[in-house]
Amino acid sequence: MNSQIRNIESAYIKDNIPSIQIGDLIKIGVFIKEGNKERIQYSEGIVISKHNAGINTTITMRRTLQGIGVERIYLIHSPKITSIKILKHFKIRRAKIFYIRNAKKLKEKI
């Protein structure tokens, strides 16, 4: 990446983020505002892809809510993301694991 861009971004890149790999089961805390109340909302999910782009690094997290799959793409250096905790790691031999979207039984696919 351009060194000038890297110099500007280095002021905003977080250094306390754990090293996230594909196949990690993570718990991510997001700062949300409902009306006047502010709180941290936690959600768990499995990381199915990671896109490295400096400060714009994103991860895609997949979880199942009431039988329906929901995917969320987070910018991990965003100030709204308060914490990322790795709960478990599944051994994966791919860089992106989009095949789990068609999985009827997730444990067999992973």
Binding site: L65, Q66, G67, I68, G69, V70, E71, R72, I73, Y74, L75, S78, K80, R101
Partner: protein, 109 residues
């Protein structure tokens, strides 16, 4: 990205299980997304509908995206009153109409 001929899943207990989009309300456009009002045909009748969740990712103001595994719609009458009286499943947070959010325990994402 809901367009004409898209088949959507009905997320309330109004009767039909699926509905087909036959038009998009509002200023002329080709695609409808979450929160938009569309015209649907279900079991021989024509209703309006509010798109509740969408398979194509939707960007949030904080830069994150949400993608839900199904295209869902909530049937409403022309005056905005919902046809059913309970809503199931996962809705997007763009669905803000209070007469829909008051229909029981709804999960918005």
């Amino acid at each position: 990205m809901i367009q004409i001929r898209t088949v959507l899943k009905v997320l309330d207990n109004s009767g039909p299980k699926t509905a087909r989009c036959i038009g998009i309300l509002g200023p002329p456009k080709k695609f409808a997304t979450v929160g938009n009002k569309i015209v649907v045909a279900a079991e021989g009748k024509v209703y309006h509908g509010i798109v509740a969740c969408c398979k194509v990712e939707k960007k949030r103001p904080d830069g994150s995206f949400v993608r839900i595994d199904q295209n869902g719609v909530i049937l409403v009458e022309s005056n905005g009153k919902p046809v059913g009286n309970r809503v199931f499943g996962v809705l997007s947070d763009r669905v803000k109409q209070p007469e829909i959010l008051s229909l029981g325990r709804v999960k918005t994402i």
